[in-house]
Structure formats: structure tokens, C-alpha cells
Amino acid sequence: MFNLAEMKDTIKIEPSGFRKKKAQAITDEINRKYANKVLQDVGLCIAMHDILYASEGFIHHGDGCSYVTVHFRLVIFRPFVGEIITGKIRSCNQEGVRVTLGFFDDIFIPYHYLQENSEFNADEQVWVWMYDENEMFMDLEETIRFRVESEQFFDTSPSVRPKKEGVDTPDLSANSAKQAPYSLTNIELLFLRFEWCIDVMAPSC
């Protein structure tokens, strides 16, 4: 689920951070800059893992901050395709089921990837799995296991639109992204609540 990414960056330490030990100051800056951000084609950054190399701090004239070139490793959340993960159901709608991990929400299971004979119960707004005339409700906040089938990165950086001559209207809607920068689309909603697997699936051993 997690892996390491090696990065190189110039970290700016403000004078207010000079009282800290250098390693601590660099760690805090990196965590502030990268934690909970999605890097394209890398994944969701969780925290800094370790510092491989840090140069001497360089202070520009006119600016009191110390600039340090750092090689470090970040803990990245990026499940590989085919990995099995445990999560909680956040919401259901006709399109499918949305699952959350607490720190990562953009996991979606389209309805045609749920188990066969699953129906959407519009009254309760939940999906129901019919297995041998047993109705198994996929309630909210239930823990489920699922296998990751695909991931999607979407670049949400602001786009620069060419302006027409003579017209100068800032188009804010162009910058609002309704797409999540990193999302998982899943196949194979595996057996749901852990109790079910005993009733439903007969172990082959």
C-alpha cells in the first residue's frame, strides 16, 4: 500500500525555524509542503521517511531564509494494481459504492463490478447482494475488502486559457476541478463483512 519515493528539492527554512535542530526543521518543512498532497504519477504523499543528504544552508541577500538542497525519501500511498485493501463504505448511489480509508476517500466501485445479483435499494439508498435468497445489505460504515483494479491521475493544476483579443474576462470555472487528482476504480468487491465469508464461501482446503 505504501512505498518510498526519492526526491530532491530546495527547502526554505524561515528564521523562526533556526532555533530547531536542522534535521527537525527540514523534516517539518517537508511535511508541511508535501503531506496530504498528490504528486502526479507518484501518489499521495503521507510523510517524510528520512533525509539522505542535506547541503549547507544558503542565505540569499535581501531574504533571511536559509535555503537547503535536500535529498530525501517520502512515504507515498499508492496501492499497486491487484492489491487487496480493507476500507469502509462511505456512501452508495445508483452508480456504485464509494469507499473510504479515513485518509483517502476517492475510491469508487462501479455498480457492474459488484457481485452478481446486486440490487440497489432506493428506499434505503444501499446496495443489496442477493445470494441464495439471502439478502446481504452493504450498509454504511461497514468494513469491506476490495481489490484495486485501476488508478487514475488527473492533473488539477490551473490551466492557462488563451485570451481573445479585446476581451479580458477571468474565467474562474476553468480552474475549478471536480475531478479528484488521484482516484482508484475498483473491480471485485470481495466478500464484505468478515462474518460473511464463513457462511458464503466454502473453503477449498
Binding site: E6, V42, I84
Partner: protein
């Protein structure tokens, strides 16, 4: 900002959990005001505390690796066994690909026993923080 290498090593949930706990302890030990914890990390810690890795330790992982050496599992399969701690045959067969072609059916029970023995979970739920090395990550890399 330059990305030198995107997937230099894989980490198990246990390693991430102990890393976050160490960072928190270090911050408290340094007693520096103004270093705020990243709010998201609390959610990661909460998620990991509810997963099987909360009662693991470096010793247990080393033991598990040693026992599973004969089976020649892929790196990712061993990692998933660590993260998910399968308790039944169904779960194990999902994690290991093409089980019937690679192993005999008795191996399934054998593996489940190894997992239950190396990663005991029934008794205590306390988190043990030893001087865990991250050589598991280095070995996996």
C-alpha cells in the same frame, strides 16, 4: 523539485505505523513549540491502528519471513500477508496467485498455521515499539 525515483522501496503497514509514531515521539521529545503535527497523519495512524499491523513487531516479521522462505512467495504476496493477516483459506487464496498450480492443498493449512503462530493477535492489543530496524524495507528493495 525533482523526483529521482518513484518506487524505490515498498513499505509494510507496520513500518509506516512505527515511522509515524517515532516522528510524533521525536516531536514531543524535542519540545519545540510551533511544530504542528500534520492532521492527515492522525487519520493514517487511526487507520493503521485498526489494521492487523497494530500488534506486529520487527521480531514477528523476521520470524514470518524465515518460515515462508521455503515457499518462495513473491514479494508482494508476503507484503499482503503481513498487511492483511489472512485467517482463513479464502483470504489466503485471494492473496496468493495461482495457488493450486504452485502449492499443494496441505500447504494452505501449513501457511495459515505459520501466520497464526508468527503474528499472534488474540491476546493483547498493545502496540509494541522496539528498536525496529527498517531493514525489512531495505531487504525488500
Amino acid at each position: 523539485m525533482e523526483i529521482l525515483q518513484t518506487n524505490s522501496a515498498m513499505l509494510s503497514n507496520y513500518e509506516v505505523m512505527s515511522l509515524l509514531a517515532d516522528q510524533k515521539a521525536q516531536r514531543i521529545a524535542n519540545e519545540v513549540a510551533g511544530t504542528r503535527e500534520v492532521a492527515e497523519n492522525r487519520r493514517v495512524q487511526k487507520y493503521l491502528a485498526a489494521s492487523p499491523c497494530s500488534t506486529q513487531s520487527g521480531e514477528q516479521i523476521r520470524e514470518l519471513k524465515k518460515e515462508f522462505k521455503d515457499f518462495e512467495l513473491m514479494k508482494v504476496e508476503l507484503l499482503q500477508i503481513l498487511n492483511l493477516r489472512p485467517k482463513s483459506a479464502v483470504e489466503l487464496l485471494l492473496v496468493i496467485e495461482e495457488f493450486e498450480e504452485r502449492f499443494a492443498l496441505e500447504d494452505c493449512d501449513k501457511m495459515l498455521n505459520i501466520i497464526a503462530k508468527a503474528l499472534p493477535r488474540d491476546d493483547d492489543e498493545e502496540m509494541e515499539e522496539e528498536g525496529e530496524e527498517e531493514e525489512v524495507a531495505a531487504e525488500n528493495a
